[in-house]
């Protein structure tokens, strides 16, 4: 007879592993660097946080150390993963590798003006 915490932990663990699989599949199938960033970073962030919280819920009746360390790792993932994806996207844009599918709207690319202003400030 399993308790309520074990049922919650098992459901979180299954959801997390499915999202990790979807992240790997997306990074294999998507056509572009920016699409791969979108699939490979957001899906694995949700999957990793859910799976680690699931392990914490599975062991919460045995010892409280598991839950505390799991929450520490979840907070670290929630801070570090968007920062790394943001840095990679900015590096790819500054290497002039633009997306395959571009929009007809000229105001869509708002980051171009920022880079041109930075160049003007460096020259002056």
């Amino acid at each position: 007879m399993s308790s309520v915490f074990e049922i919650i932990g098992g459901i979180l663990l299954l959801v997390g592993s499915i999202f990790l699989f979807l992240g790997g599949l997306g990074i294999f199938r998507m056509p572009d660097v920016y699409n791969r960033l979108q699939a490979g970073t957001k899906a694995t962030t949700l999957g990793g946080m859910s799976l680690i919280l699931g392990v914490g819920f599975l062991m919460v009746e045995t010892s409280w150390v598991w839950m505390v360390k799991a929450i520490i790792i979840v907070i670290f993932i929630a801070f570090s993963n968007p920062i790394s994806s943001h840095a990679l996207a900015r590096a790819m844009y500054k290497r002039k590798r633009y997306p395959i599918i571009t929009s007809k709207d000229e105001n869509m690319d708002a980051y171009k003006d920022v880079i041109e202003n930075e160049k003007k400030e460096e020259e002056s």
Partner: protein
């Protein structure tokens, strides 16, 4: 509970294989570093699940340190590709 662990490990291993294929034959350096970021996150989750399998909570520290090192590596690679180093 044992079957849930088996199912979770099989999903994660298939995801790791897809990300590793993209890491091996990605066309540019940006694709490889994106795949490295994904591999790091999936491996941190796998280390936490291994800590549950072996019933040792000291293995969670290994997962945390591996996550920190992978994050610093991806940041350094991104700054190098940007041309700022």
């Amino acid at each position: 509970m044992t079957y849930i662990i088996y199912i979770a490990f099989s999903f994660m291993i298939v995801g790791l294989l897809f990300a590793a294929i993209r890491f091996i034959n990605g066309p540019t350096a940006g694709d490889r570093s994106v795949a490295l970021d994904t591999l790091t996150t999936i491996l941190v989750a796998g280390l936490v699940l291994l800590a549950y399998v072996f019933q040792r909570y000291i293995y969670l520290d290994v997962a945390l340190v591996y996550g920190v090192l992978g994050f610093i590596g991806v940041i350094v690679i991104a700054r190098y590709l940007e041309g700022a180093l």
